[in-house]
Amino acid sequence: MTSQYIALPKGVSEETFDAAIHDFRKVLGDASVLTSAEQLAPYIKTMMPVSDAEHTPSAALLATTVEQIQKIVAICNQYKVPIWMISTGKNLGYGSAAPAERGQVVLDLKRMNRILEVDKDLAFALVEPGVTYQQLYDHIKEHKLGLWLSMPAPSAIAGPVGNTLDRGVGYTPYGEQFLFACGMEVVLANGEVLRTGMGSMPNSNTWQVFKWGYGPYLDGIFTQSNYGIVTKFGFWLMPEPPAFKPFVIQYQHEEDIVEIVETIRPLRISGVIPNAVVIAHALYEAPVKAKRSDYVSGPGSIPDEAVYRIMKDHKLGIWNVYAALYGTQEQIDVNWSIVTQAFSQSGKAKILTEQEAADDPAFVYRAKLMRGDMTLTEFSLYNWRGGGGSMWFAPVSQARGSETLKQMALTKQILAKHGLDYSGEFIVGMRDMHHIVDVLYDKTDPEQTKAAYQCFDELLTEFSARGYGTYRVNTAFMDKVAETYGPVQRNVHKTLKKALDPNGILAPGKSGIR
């Protein structure tokens, strides 16, 4: 007998699943319960080097209200059917909209997309999960609220709830998204609705202005986790500054990362440079301007000599430091002289501003990201190898020059061993760096796909052996990364899971938690 479903949840019979689907339809209506191969196709495409079959969902549910979600979790508990939550569902390079395990039902909250509040004076927003950055951007413009967004590079099509829940990063002074989160509403596995922080108190008006509430702070346990379904999310927005000055500083040698980081760190910690600075390698920026095939053909990673030619032809440094100053013109003038003095000392840095770089496509899109304007230009990364394969390798580094050089060299060496290029950047927190490397490969080429898998596995093994932890990872490698953080943390995660979701219905496998 062939199944009427394209996949089934682990350990759930077709008969039981049928009964669950029947009940889901009663809650949501037929049109919002998707089960056919055609309807589910968009949930299947991922950029990971594993078979799509491993992450094929059994169904997708399009819920729009808290009450529907409460009923859905009741049904899931009854039939032991697991759901995988997505908000805007654009977790590209981390698993996209596909579930962690075959057969999970995707709970797609994209249509739950109301902007509930944007407070101009207190500069905060409260939104539902399906709100995109584009939607919020348009709302702010339309109502002339004078607030800026901090968003990841897929800006327009992604959203603040999903991005922050996965602890993503943006590029303005509010770039470390979760630092600026303030108050969540969460549907728990038992159907209860928790409002975190001040939101727990009826009639409180401080939910979006004071993060901590009373007692243990809970918001953190709902990020990168499977302990609840976030249905409302508050966060702070940056008041539009009177003046904005983006700039790029270019260096010519890979070892110069040491000087860059040592120069940036004090400026970043003291707040002279307030935003999440990016130190991008030439190969991260090159796809905006150059074609790989114009410089190299055949298998293997791109040789340094070709990278130097790209730099020369397309006015790139081997390192390109994108940062910006924000404030009144007077503040910017003072800080600009501090920045230029610091970077001029060794004579190695080339400093460019809008005056010199206004026509440079890499500079233009970076400047947009640093002021929260919509752009998808960074998708040009996928033209580098072609074939739609991508995984973000994202180890954390100290903001210390010698450490960043070590991480870069190790990554590059392992990538080269597997014939892949180092498309890397460092996103500068105050004391940390997110070392972000796009492991790009041609997913239509089985050999390269296999190499990419092995390469990624080796990167995780080698980095963790040296004490370098990964901050976030795609769904194919979540267990492996969870292992690297040791048994005690895993146990605590598991204990919480058992307490909050004893039937294991919420996103089993997320961050290796079941």
Binding site: A41, N190, D359, P502, N503
Partner: protein, 111 residues
């Protein structure tokens, strides 16, 4: 085993209580505006497709191929949007509903 069963029973019981009592917040949920909906094909093109499929103001980069004025068949557009294609992500009906996708396809083939 017994304990687990009891826990499960308690869990179910809690549900009943929650639904009977409603929750403190449901009243507020009702008051707000309805969610977002696309106006027309031009809007979808401008706010999703054009970022990659059209050279952006201020610089010449275009990430993906031109898709306007090419008389691309509607079924082709639907297939690529729903399935994605290599670098191009897939878009779900929750993001661009079937009716809006139809409007988008018409917009793309307009002169």
């Amino acid at each position: 085993m017994k304990k687990t069963k009891l826990e499960n029973w308690l869990f179910g019981f809690l549900f009943a209580v929650i639904f009977a009592a409603g929750n403190a917040w449901s009243a507020q949920d009702e008051i707000n505006n309805s969610g977002f909906a696309w106006k027309d094909g031009a809007e979808i093109y401008a706010k999703v497709c054009a970022y990659c499929h059209e050279a952006q103001v201020g610089h010449e980069v275009q990430v993906g191929p031109q898709i306007r004025h090419r008389k691309l068949p509607i079924t082709y557009i639907r297939t690529v949007v729903r399935n994605g294609n290599r670098a191009m992500p897939s878009f779900r009906s929750s993001e661009i509903d079937d009716e809006s996708l139809e409007k988008l396809a018409n917009f793309l083939s307009q002169k």
